[in-house]
């Protein structure tokens, strides 16, 4: 009694589901980081980035953002 077909189906499904999960998580992360880079390139920065630039400008005497 081997039921090799059932075993193969179970493992193929496991690879498919885990592989699909990995692909989805990686793709989602890449997409979000790309969107953020585009927005930052348009000049939409984070408040902490602006605060950091303001602090740096205050230390050097240069005008802030």
């Amino acid at each position: 009694m081997t039921h090799v077909g059932y075993v193969a189906a179970a493992y193929c499904l496991t690879f498919a589901v885990i592989g699909g999960l990995i692909a989805w998580v990686v793709a989602d992360g890449t997409l979000q980081r790309r969107k953020l880079r585009v927005l930052e390139a348009e000049g939409v920065g984070r408040r902490s980035d602006r605060q950091g630039a303001t602090d740096a400008a205050a230390r050097t005497g240069e005008p802030g953002p």
Partner: protein, 258 residues
């Protein structure tokens, strides 16, 4: 500042997780490779199940991870509601699709095992029905997060539902003891210790470790993606609020809104 508090800062979490992620992923890959080798080539056929016992090496870890993931979500829900930890709802939202996938895998591999062993793909016994309920709960939570625009508000509502639904986890675990079920009683995590032979137990343990590391790696990545998603949303709102021809960095005043 405690480590727990430090992790409340998303930027610190992103930096730490970026460093930890490769090691967790590498550990998962090694454990999975070893587990597959043990499961497919070293573990002997069962005297009753034959080679079908090898399905257990993916079915049981999937089922454990399905419940473990919900446990992680429940702890995250407590973090959201009690401590208002900023990353708690990020953790819960990131874990839900992963938990749903493992639950789906547990259901389908169990069904594949059941056909040659029990002669049926499915029975409405307590264990199988309660795991199906868990799968539906995961899908419902994912739908809820997508339905509510504000992620903070969605996180709070989801946290309450996660905690209410946690009652299903002990039901799944003890269903085989409380009811006369087709599904066999616990063979590994039981008071008297495991009842399966070490030649089958060790491949199962290695596969369980591999699945857990896969979950941890995916969870870290999904949390990072969710943090970036929220930053994108904030930036898009800032850009929309600034209006055309106006710097998003300029001070915002009520008079400027058309």
């Amino acid at each position: 500042m405690t480590p727990f508090t430090r992790l409340a800062n998303p930027s610190i979490f992103l930096a730490l997780s970026r460093r930890a992620q490769p090691f967790v992923a590498a550990g998962a890959a090694c454990a999975f490779a070893l587990g597959l080798y043990l499961a497919l080539f070293i573990a002997p056929p069962d005297y009753q199940q034959g080679d079908s016992v090898r399905i257990m090496f993916v079915h049981v870890p999937s089922a454990w991870l399905a419940m473990f993931c919900y446990g992680v979500m429940a702890i995250s829900a407590l973090g959201t509601l009690i401590w208002k930890h900023p990353l708690a709802d990020v953790s819960a939202k990131a874990a839900a699709p992963i938990g749903a996938a493992f639950t789906f895998l547990a259901l389908i591999t169990g069904s594949i095992w059941g056909k040659p062993m029990w002669g049926t793909w499915w029975e409405w016994d307590a264990r199988m029905t309660s795991v199906l309920v868990l799968f539906i709960m995961y899908l419902g939570l994912i739908a809820l997060w997508r339905a509510i625009e504000d992620p903070i508000r969605a996180g709070r509502i989801a946290a309450i539902l996660i905690l209410v639904g946690f009652i299903n986890i002990p039901i799944i675990k003890f269903s085989v003891d409380w009811w006369n079920t087709l599904h066999q009683p616990a063979s590994v995590i039981r008071l008297g210790g495991p009842t399966i032979h070490s030649s089958l137990l060790w491949p199962l343990v290695v596969m369980a470790v591999a699945f857990t590391l896969i979950f941890l790696s995916l969870h870290l990545s999904a949390m990072r993606a969710e943090i970036y998603r929220r930053r994108v949303r904030t930036a898009q709102l800032l850009r929309a609020a600034s209006g055309p021809g106006r710097s998003p960095l300029a001070p915002f005043s009520r008079e400027a809104v058309p």
